[in-house]
Point group: C2
Chain length 284, copies 2
């Protein structure tokens, strides 16, 4: 079995042999089978989410986990829950488009959503990658009455929506909610400003190193391969975050792989040496 053809020069019999020894030691049978089968498939866990899972039961449970509702009592939460409607989206669906009139505030219950801003020429900039618990859309009633970005699911997702006017009422009633929303928005502003700084002052390599560390921190899951970023993530996605081209991103990632800092395949990345990446992103 170990002698079966290997797809390319590296990752061949030697590497696999030692990997098996390692996993025998750790008694991780499924990993051994994986290696021996020589069958590669995406290491990203498929989302444990079907359309029918995106129901009221789940909603109430999840809503309590949303940061800005954590302060609310059971009964208040039940009240607020009534204002929400749930929708299920499959992978790659558009939730709303840049320029659409902005009447709803949304919350990710399950899955991932990316916010992308497009220029007139169609170039995309990836503004944010959202997780369960994150809200999106404008929480303001003010100057912004249209979305200035497009929201698209990166995985199948369950999304709750509340009418903006209803949400503002909730914020008025429960100041703790308004406060948490403000805190989150301030954090996002600070993040966003840091990114401006990076775009203005750092070369591409450091920007990408920093993005990888940040993503690992937010979406990382320990895995045989390292800290696996649990999210479909193409070179193009990374490029759109780093403000560079897909080709340059590919070159940088190849170098990182060369230096044994990461492992990656199609649409997935695992960090093998986070401290070193962090060092690269911050060195003078």
């Amino acid at each position: 079995m170990l002698a079966c053809s290997s797809p390319s020069g590296d990752g061949g019999i030697d590497n696999r042999f030692f990997a098996v020894v390692e996993y025998v030691r750790r008694q991780e049978v499924s990993d051994i089978l994986y290696i021996m089968s020589d069958k590669r498939e995406t290491p990203l866990s498929s989302p444990p989410l079907e359309g029918h899972h995106c129901t009221v039961d789940l909603r109430l449970e999840k809503l309590g986990l949303v940061p800005f509702f954590q302060q609310l009592a059971e009964e208040q939460l039940r009240e607020v829950n009534k204002k929400f409607t749930a929708s299920h989206y499959s992978k790659g669906e558009t939730i709303y488009r840049q320029g659409d009139s902005s009447t709803m505030l949304r919350v990710v219950v399950a899955g991932n959503v990316k916010l992308v801003s497009h220029t007139l020429e169609g170039e995309g900039v990836l503004l944010d990658m959202l997780q369960p618990g994150d809200f999106f859309g404008n929480p303001t009633a003010g100057s912004q009455d249209v979305y200035n970005e497009t929201a698209e699911t990166q995985t199948p997702a369950c999304i709750l929506s509340i009418r903006l006017s209803d949400f503002r009422e909730v914020m008025n009633r429960y100041s703790s909610v308004a406060m948490v929303v403000l805190d989150i928005t301030t954090d996002r502003l600070n993040e966003s400003r840091q990114r401006i700084q990076h775009l203005s002052t750092l070369p591409v390599t450091k920007r990408i190193a920093h993005i990888l560390v940040t993503l690992a921190h937010k979406f990382g899951e320990e895995d045989r391969r390292g800290l696996l970023i649990q999210l479909p993530l193409s070179r193009k996605d990374l490029a759109d975050m780093a403000g560079t081209s897909a080709e340059t991103t590919s070159r940088v990632m190849s170098q990182f792989q060369e230096d044994d800092l990461i492992t990656s395949g199609r649409q997935w990345v695992a960090i093998k040496d986070k401290p070193e990446l962090l060092r690269i992103s911050a060195e003078s």
Copy 2:
């Protein structure tokens, strides 16, 4: 008098003659004197602000003009006012430094303040330019307990400070205040994201054109020279906003001047053709 030596080729006798005719027609004597004297000095109006002007009287008056207190009644405002302390700063003073522990929220009463973020190597990025009525410092009690930018006066300024804990109390009591702070923060986030987009996708010329239009919109004052940006603004400042070098900014500005889109001197810029600049910043 009109025959006196002109400092350079252009702006000589002909231009001055027609300018005088124009101003005679409009009976603007001071402008005529200005032109005839051939004495150039900064067109920026010196701030009408002395240390002793930054007093309690002014405070109460100004505080009511701050967006997030506009909803408050006279009495409530008087109450809130007690929590504030006023300080006067002269031009170029540092109000707080990046990394200082963040215990105060501040409001500009008069003058201008710039927020700058510095890299380890000392490169600066100009994050925001503030006007009377703008707040700065973190309004959150959360994850951010240090400032992540440096605040420095761009003109002499009068600044009010309130302890963060006091301000959060005010926000808890008056939800309208929390709401407006949230709206402003959301607007800033959107601005900031637009800037990320520009840094990622636009060439320097367009970025600078856009910044000039934005500044004109925020700080512009009609003037003989055009829409004068009422703010000391060096090429370096502009460069730090556009994420480019002072030299490149200078070249771009020279070109704009060549094309009769702007007039500028040391630390000041006046827009002569805003529509065209806007077109440049947005053209494909």
